[in-house]
């Protein structure tokens, strides 16, 4: 296998982007990534696009060809373009497809991107569509919502481990603090614990400020071999590991309700591939679709024992100034969660941090990890990048 590097990144701003269509979003992110790599589109020899549900959100399927067309690469170079889907992990999966294509020698330069346009439908449709990330037949049809499933994880967790309501709120407070320092974030204002615990209940114990928002956005990364990377950039970021794992689609079939075994396994695979220890990792972008998800992620990735992440959060270990900054971008919570784009945005954030281009949220980092979850943990990708 060949060593792979990220040579360009691009991202739209995240938010309710009434003026941008699905295709506008993708083209904006892709163009920025190409510009960042100083590369002409004709040099790209494959496109991988993460997208959860354009079919339901904008009534458009056949996303690969659509994007190749609007990128000007369908009628000219007739580029192979592939959409990949794993609900909220679609972006992480697209990145992994790109890594695999370059590592194997099948492709030389690829774009791995993610896009989601979520605000063109009414909120009831959004809730129903997102519930499709879980088991439609035996969870959603029974009345489960996506926040409801994570709420059941939270209740199980809080029944078994010493996590307080305030510690859970501190995850959101921290991520809003980081988001306030990220120019692409959907929410750029800081909040306090009271904001979270006084917000309306969505699914007990989760409140509105425990939940990531509905977001439009796109992100793109350009990959080539480590050997060729310096033709395009002075600051290539090496892909040290790319891992993926699966678990049962329904939460009720998990071995343990509040442990995401797919995260545990994907992390073990990633650390083995990279030949690194946890202490070698300087920052994390984890999948905080809900506050409880960040708590579980830190533990299941192996950075502390089960039941300890709430205390770490309270002690500031995971803050920008802490020993292990988590979700420097603001995470899904504050940066926003355009589901198919999230996994790529995490890569964009890690690359910016490793290159020292993260501005007011810059941390000291040589190695970063990105953790992307589909559904309630049925698909997980873990990527480790380094300079």
């Amino acid at each position: 296998m060949r060593e792979v590097a990220v040579i360009g990144i691009g991202c739209t701003t995240f938010g309710e982007k009434w003026n941008s269509s699905f295709r506008d979003l993708f083209i904006e992110a892709g163009a920025r990534a190409l510009e960042d790599a100083g590369l002409a589109g004709e040099k790209i020899d494959a496109l991988f696009i993460g997208n959860m549900s354009a079919g339901r959100f904008v009534e458009q399927e056949h996303i690969g060809a659509l994007i190749a067309d609007y990128a000007g690469l369908a009628t000219t170079t007739h580029i192979p373009a592939t959409r990949v889907e794993a609900a909220c992990a679609s972006g992480g999966l697209a990145f992994r497809q790109g890594v695999t294509a370059v590592a194997s020698g099948m492709s030389e330069i690829v774009v791995a991107a993610g896009v989601e346009k979520m605000t063109d439908v009414a909120s009831g449709t959004t809730v129903a569509t997102l519930a499709g990330a879980a088991d439609r037949e035996w969870e959603a049809f029974i009345g489960a919502t996506f926040p409801g499933l994570y709420a059941m994880i939270a209740n199980d967790y809080m029944h078994r481990y010493p996590l307080t309501r305030e510690q859970l709120a501190m995850v959101a407070v921290k991520n809003h603090y980081n988001g306030a320092r990220n120019p692409i974030a959907q929410f750029q204002q800081e909040i306090n614990i009271e904001t979270v615990i006084n917000s309306s209940l969505v699914a007990d114990p989760l409140r509105l400020y425990d939940c990531s928002p509905i977001t439009d956005g796109a992100a793109a990364a350009i990959l080539t071999t480590m050997e060729r990377a310096r033709e395009f950039t002075d600051t290539p970021v090496k892909v040290l590991a790319s891992a993926q794992a699966s678990d049962s689609i329904a939460l009720h079939d998990r071995r343990d309700i509040s442990t995401l075994d797919a995260t545990v396994v994907a992390a073990k695979r990633a650390f083995r591939q990279a030949g690194l220890e946890h202490s070698d990792v300087d920052m994390l972008e984890v999948h905080d679709c809900f506050t409880i998800a960040e708590i579980c992620a830190i533990e299941d990735l192996g950075f502390c024992r089960k039941g300890e992440a709430g205390k770490l959060t309270e002690e500031g270990v995971t803050s920008l100034q802490g020993d292990l900054p988590v979700n420097t971008s603001g995470g899904l919570k504050a940066c926003g969660h355009p589901v198919g784009a999230t996994g790529i945005k995490q890569i964009v954030e890690v690359v910016q941090q490793l290159r020292g281009e993260a501005g007011r949220r810059q941390v000291d980092a040589k190695v970063g990890l990105a953790h992307n979850v589909g559904g309630t943990g049925a698909t997980v990708t873990v990527h480790i990048l380094g300079v």
Partner: protein, 129 residues
């Protein structure tokens, strides 16, 4: 949900009929037609669950999708049946009465509607035992 898609699973949804692997003795609800442990050596038979169990975890849904918004707030739980398997179900009890470990039994109830004048779906809910 289309009528056919619901109708297809009526025995399971109305009566908690699942499956059992005769090779390893594992029970499956929601039903599986392939034993994930025995794989090709599995022997899947139909099984009628007793319909009693306990709440493993739960939540109170306050913001629901269109199909369920008339029912909010409602208790949603993961229930472990006494035979072993776990399923997701609504528990028909006041939200402040739900608790982890609570014993429950099945009842036949209205589950949801497709729109305000749509098809009414019935199925299994649970009540405190």
């Amino acid at each position: 949900m289309s009528v056919a898609r619901f109708w297809r699973k009526i025995p399971q949804r109305y009566n908690l009929i699942g499956t059992k692997c005769d090779n390893c003795g594992r029970y499956f609800f929601p039903p599986r037609t392939f034993c994930p442990v025995c794989r090709r050596n599995g022997r899947i038979l139909e099984h009628q669950f007793k319909g009693t169990g306990k709440v493993v975890t739960y939540t109170v849904i306050r913001a629901a999708s269109e199909q369920f918004e008339h029912f909010t707030p409602y208790v949603l739980a993961i229930i472990q049946l006494d035979e072993g398997p776990r399923l997701t179900a609504q528990v028909a009890c006041p939200p402040d009465k739900a608790e982890i470990g609570m014993r429950v039994k099945k009842v036949f109830r209205r589950i949801g509607t497709d729109g305000s004048s749509g098809v009414i779906h019935y199925g299994t809910k649970f009540v405190p035992e």
